[in-house]
Symmetry: C2
Subunit: 341 residues, 2 copies
């Protein structure tokens, strides 16, 4: 598609002059206007993307739907977004972050508006009303995350099942037998059955039972204050526990700080590993936390590729892709203490 | 504006039926279709926002322009965004985060597209090409941040000048005479003359000189690893410095962790205060950092109010508003040591 700069080059005028001509924002001489309009015509430049969109049925805008007003946008969510936006740009689209709660009506209004060519969903629930709505619309979509029933649904997601199983086996190798999973809970009722939490709890329960371990679950809000509260609760309620799987990114550093404030040494008294977080978050703590890193950059890119391949009809296959978190060691993982302090 | 639910209620059918009728996504009986279409007509419901936008010249979409691919979206930026989106929702608009670098042509393409009714700019530079472009367009805009020359420009911004002066005077009261300002630098060349950094450096230089203090500036990348690097550099290059103003939110906790790793005690050896950050970030460290809290929620809301007041022609005044950061004490601020360890 021709840009304003192309028009300016062909008409041999400044970019500002093209803008003034198009927007009628400053006076332009009739001769200059004629030159600019001739260049626009030669290049097929469309001055109005909405009119153009109606004619072509395309705006080249993609919406990443995220319930940002209900569910805090975490540092790892930011990575999903920027990676998706970057890939969209490479492929000739603008991806915008559209804050929208998980309700079908809002999705329906957006898809019937004609303002966006396609949508990517995040924060997917096991039974997600948005997916049912999108399945009945003509607007292409892809999920970063997945529903309970994935038949016919294009998605990319973190392989929480495999990641959690590996984390538990790592604790076993270090001699730990009493574990706690800390997550962010369901939080807002709009996120009932939120996929990552539901799947992680299920596999944590199954694998700890299979391996004959003690496994408990704690939940707290997505913040440092939440992490410090969780640390107090952990110290009071789980005196025997020596291993923690922390799947609440924003509470992680606060949890470590709270344990230290309570006099715990890491990893001599308790080992902690972050799940589906990032190196940047875990190195906020001293010592740095061990972490299973979320494949956020990869999934953001693949989610957009999946959508654009469908939009541009480049692929007839149904992409359904799971990627494990990758482990990075950190000084918060050590052998289980013989007797906790 | 009537919603799909209003149509469903009036036609006495389910929301899904209205959606099927509008999107032709599933068969609907002629009788049901007639009921739904009568209700749509009665309520003035528009099935196509693009057609509707052309007719009214309005899409009710606002774009928050943020160079998210060039400049990392910080936790405090997230607060600006969610507060702005929340306020837009309350006033009947959808605010979306539009990642766009600081170049005039991209802004011009957006404003001439007709896809958005107005724009809010973030990450404003002292001489910002986007502001010049917007000033010449007919699309209303508002700045969160401000240019060097603010004549005729509607903006809301943090009062960095007053905040930094107060922070310096707080150090003086505690007996500190040798200070360092840590910031995120200019980073990407697209952010040359980035307002917050430029203004903070200027006032830091002026006030330390006026008060007869030693004042140096250090810069590092916006990450925990960047903070840990800065701590190493600080330990090596500023052995006499006892007070640090940390205006690099994402490096803050890593900086404290790095000082601790190097054997420094806070505040016995060094005092640190975060500038324009949040309680959530500073409580990731143990001990929690003192902080001048960014008025992000307030400014996000006021930025959107400023824009919508202009859009809806509710106000003829030119809003130009500065808000100071508010201080919250933390255990990283103490009296200057007689002799640094």
């Amino acid at each position: 598609m021709a840009t304003m700069q192309d028009v300016a080059n062909l008409a041999n005028v400044s970019l500002a002059t093209v803008s003034f001509t198009i927007n009628n924002s400053k006076p332009v001489s009739p001769k200059t206007r004629a030159k600019v309009e001739a260049a626009m015509k030669d290049l097929g430049y469309r001055r109005n993307a909405v009119g153009s969109a109606l004619a072509r049925g395309r705006t080249h805008v993609l919406a990443l739907l995220y319930p940002a007003l209900q569910h805090r946008f975490s540092p790892t969510s930011v990575r999903f977004f920027t990676s998706a936006a970057d890939q969209a740009r490479l492929r000739g689209y603008n991806l915008v972050l559209w804050p929208m709660s998980n309700d079908a009506e809002a999705v329906s209004e957006l898809t019937s508006s004609g303002l966006v060519d396609g949508v990517v969903l995040m924060e997917v629930q096991l039974d997600d009303p948005r997916v049912a709505e999108l399945s009945g619309s003509t607007v292409p979509f892809a999920l970063i995350g997945r529903t309970r029933d994935t038949a016919g649904i294009p998605f990319v997601d973190v392989d929480f099942e495999s990641t959690v199983e590996k984390a538990i086996d790592r604790f076993i190798q270090l001699g730990h037998t009493d574990l706690v999973l800390v997550d962010g809970g369901i939080g807002n009722q709009l996120l009932g059955g939120y996929g990552p939490v539901a799947r992680t709890r299920k596999v944590f329960g199954e694998v700890t039972a299979q391996r004959g371990l003690s496994g408990a679950i704690m939940s707290g809000v997505h913040s440092s204050a939440g992490g410090r509260e969780l640390a107090k609760e952990f110290v009071a309620s789980h005196p025997e526990t020596t291993g923690v799987l922390m799947m609440n990114e924003q509470a992680g550093p606060g949890f470590v700080a709270g344990l230290q404030q309570a006099g715990y040494r890491l990893p001599q008294d308790v080992s902690v590993v972050a799940i589906a977080s990032s190196l940047d978050i875990v190195s906020m703590s001293e010592p740095e936390m061990a972490v299973y890193i979320s494949p956020a950059d990869e999934l953001g890119r693949l989610g957009v590729d999946t959508l654009i391949d469908r939009l541009d009809k480049l692929s007839d296959t149904l992409p359904q892709l799971l990627i494990e978190c990758s482990y990075s060691s950190g000084a918060t993982m050590g052998t289980a203490p013989k007797r906790k302090k």
